[in-house]
């Protein structure tokens, strides 16, 4: 039963992808399959979460080969939470794309690619082996490459070239790091590495030992869009169709953050004075550059893209603190951020449909025309800035508490200042797009294009409800995050679950 639970989050998107491929060019069938598969992924995520929450860390050795040799799937609470949130976002964006995606893209294989992407994401969250992590990254990236370039056009091709190049470079560096790590420790199973890397490092010069974490930091840092490696993200995320960029914004960089947290809480824990301090510095710079980038922009989706970068800084800050509370806050922050950021991108899609553009200067009057949409924008926007009682407030509160408890006042001050600037740029969107009077030319277009926005509002409302609920039930939700943080901070349980239990 537990084996099935662990593989289902990969199996369901894979079968859905294959089935939608078989239903090539039969759009109605593909849409039904896609939605059913995404709903299945949510169900599998809930079941996995319930099991992991109740019975502790699960692990499974595919094919019965014992742990350091076979293919390992592991789910601790962090993985389970990530799979659950990925399923939720996968489902809502699938729902949204029913109403918004261009039929031409559907004929070019949008649905199969969508599910193969989800498969790569779940696989990356569940694998217990670094080389398999590389393979899952590639599964995810190849689908995302095609989704990014789908449909063509000059702007989209430009974005896709940048996106593809930098992500390939990051994969190459990841592979370099894997090769050297294998040469050093003789294994790539993460739980096995936790012990063996410490053993192997005893006989190595400190330069080699610092180079390896740095290679991983750069490789995952590019994927997570951390400072100073984030430039591909704002250059490409505003080009694809809204549904695709919402999915990317929600999930892809967070897979990089997940990998960072996993590697730096399990394997590279010997030299924290060096690595984790560096991570904290990167976190601070990521927050600041991201938010300044956002302030300088005047296009809805570009602002949101820069905010992804800024928010990545908060998640890495939790990792850099390295305490159980810091890691718990990082877990909470990632989950909150995925929901909120996806929602903001989906809203930008509706705004684009109403106003015909995403340039803030040409938008306006949306509050008067669509008060419901304006309200739905306020929920994730204020949550992103960290206004109580929404989910973002508790995520930031956790980080600040962890930082103060650890005596890292500088990073706490930076994070609070960046929150204020986030609020500023969210109010800028609010003032420009929703509050100010509609410019003359745009007003007529807004009224004319108003039909058919009700369906996209359903997934947006769903995600907004989740944000509010997480805020209202912050106690129990943060309790889960604290347990996940405790598991991450004390990896003995994880190692025991992979190497000790299972099939031996």
């Amino acid at each position: 039963m537990k084996d099935l639970l662990l593989v289902l989050p990969v199996m369901i998107p894979m079968s859905t992808g294959i089935l939608t491929l078989l239903a090539w060019r039969r759009r109605r069938l593909q849409r039904g399959l896609s939605l059913a598969g995404a709903a299945g992924l949510v169900a599998a995520g809930v079941a996995l979460f319930a099991e992991v929450s109740g019975r502790g860390i699960l692990s499974s050795q595919i094919g019965g080969w014992p742990a350091p040799f076979g293919i390992t799937f592991v789910a601790d609470l962090f993985s389970a939470v990530m799979v659950l949130v990925a399923g939720l976002v996968g489902f809502t964006v699938a729902l949204y794309s029913l109403a918004s995606i261009d039929p031409i893209l559907e004929n070019f294989g949008y649905h199969p690619l969508y599910h193969f992407l989800l498969m790569g994401v779940s696989g990356a969250f569940l694998t217990g082996d670094l080389f398999n992590l590389y393979v899952w990254f590639e599964v995810m990236l190849v689908s995302s490459f095609v989704l990014m370039a789908l449909g063509g056009g000059r702007r989209r091709t430009d974005g896709a070239v940048k996106y593809v190049t930098l992500n390939l470079l990051s994969s190459t560096l990841f592979l370099v790091a894997l090769g050297i790590l294998y040469g050093l420790a003789g294994t790539l199973n993460m739980a096995d590495l936790a012990g063996k890397f410490a053993q192997a490092s005893a006989s190595q010069p400190v330069g080699v030992l610092r180079m390896l974490p740095m290679l991983f930091l750069i490789a995952f840092g590019i994927k997570a869009a951390a400072f100073p490696l984030f430039f591909w993200l704002p250059a490409s995320y505003h080009t694809p169709p809204i549904a695709i960029s919402a999915l990317f914004a929600g999930l892809l960089t967070k897979v990089g953050v997940y990998a960072l947290i996993r590697v730096f809480s399990l394997i590279f824990v010997g030299d924290t004075a060096y690595t984790h301090t560096l991570i904290l510095v990167i976190a601070g710079l990521t927050m600041v550059t991201g938010v300044f980038g956002a302030i300088s922009q005047n296009e809805f989706r570009r602002i949101l893209s820069f905010h992804i970068v800024s928010q990545i800084g908060y998640m890495i800050m939790g990792l850099g603190l390295g305490t159980p509370l810091g890691l718990a806050a990082a877990v909470f922050y990632i989950a909150h951020h995925i929901v909120v950021k996806t929602n903001l991108f989906l809203i930008s899609g509706v705004v684009q449909r109403l106003g015909g553009t995403l340039e803030l200067g040409k938008l306006g009057g949306l509050y008067a025309a669509r008060p419901l949409l304006a309200g739905l924008f306020l929920v994730p926007a204020l949550s992103l800035a960290g206004v109580p009682p929404l989910s973002g407030f508790f995520a930031k509160l956790g980080l600040v508490q962890a930082g103060v408890a650890d005596g890292r006042y500088l990073i706490v001050a930076v994070s609070l200042a960046v929150s204020l600037l986030t609020l500023y740029s969210m109010t800028k969107i609010w003032n420009e797009a929703f509050w100010k009077k509609a410019p003359e030319a745009g007003g007529g277009a807004a009224a004319a294009a108003g039909a058919g926005i009700r369906t996209p509002l359903v997934p947006i409302a769903l995600l907004a409800v989740v944000t509010v609920l997480v805020g209202l039930a912050a106690g129990p939700v943060f309790g889960v995050a604290e347990r996940a943080g405790a598991q991450l901070a004390r990896p003995a349980g994880y190692i025991e679950a992979v190497l000790g239990g299972g099939n031996r």
Partner: protein
């Protein structure tokens, strides 16, 4: 042998990165291809080069006698080759598409006209 390999790998890396820094999309692709090849060699080399010691447990024994040629890195390389093949062919298709839609293979000019 390890020293020679180190220089080969380093040279390939340098050539790959140099090509990636050029502005032409085609040269970028060649750079990516060179990089992936050098990584494969690096994995091969990092797991130690051992000649003529096959990783088969001798009759009557229970474990391998070191040194032996580790088969696992070769499996990694095989996987990496397959993946890089797929990704590179996608990148070639994308470059062709970029050339068709924009009429240029200069990276700085692909996104240009739409802005102005």
């Amino acid at each position: 042998m390890a020293v020679v390999m180190a220089f080969v790998i380093g040279g390939l890396f340098a050539a790959g990165i140099y090509m990636m820094l050029r502005r032409s999309v085609v040269k970028l692709l060649i750079g990516l291809a060179l990089l992936t090849q050098s990584v494969n060699l690096l994995i091969f080399d990092a797991a130690q080069l051992v000649r003529a010691r096959i990783p088969i447990v001798p009759e009557g024994g229970h474990s391998l006698i070191p040194p032996y040629a580790d088969p696992l890195p070769q499996a990694f390389i095989l996987t990496a080759i397959v993946i890089s093949f797929g990704v590179t062919s996608f990148a070639v298709a994308l470059a062709y598409r970029a050339l068709r839609t924009t009429g240029t293979d200069d990276l700085d000019r692909i996104g240009e006209t739409e802005r102005s």
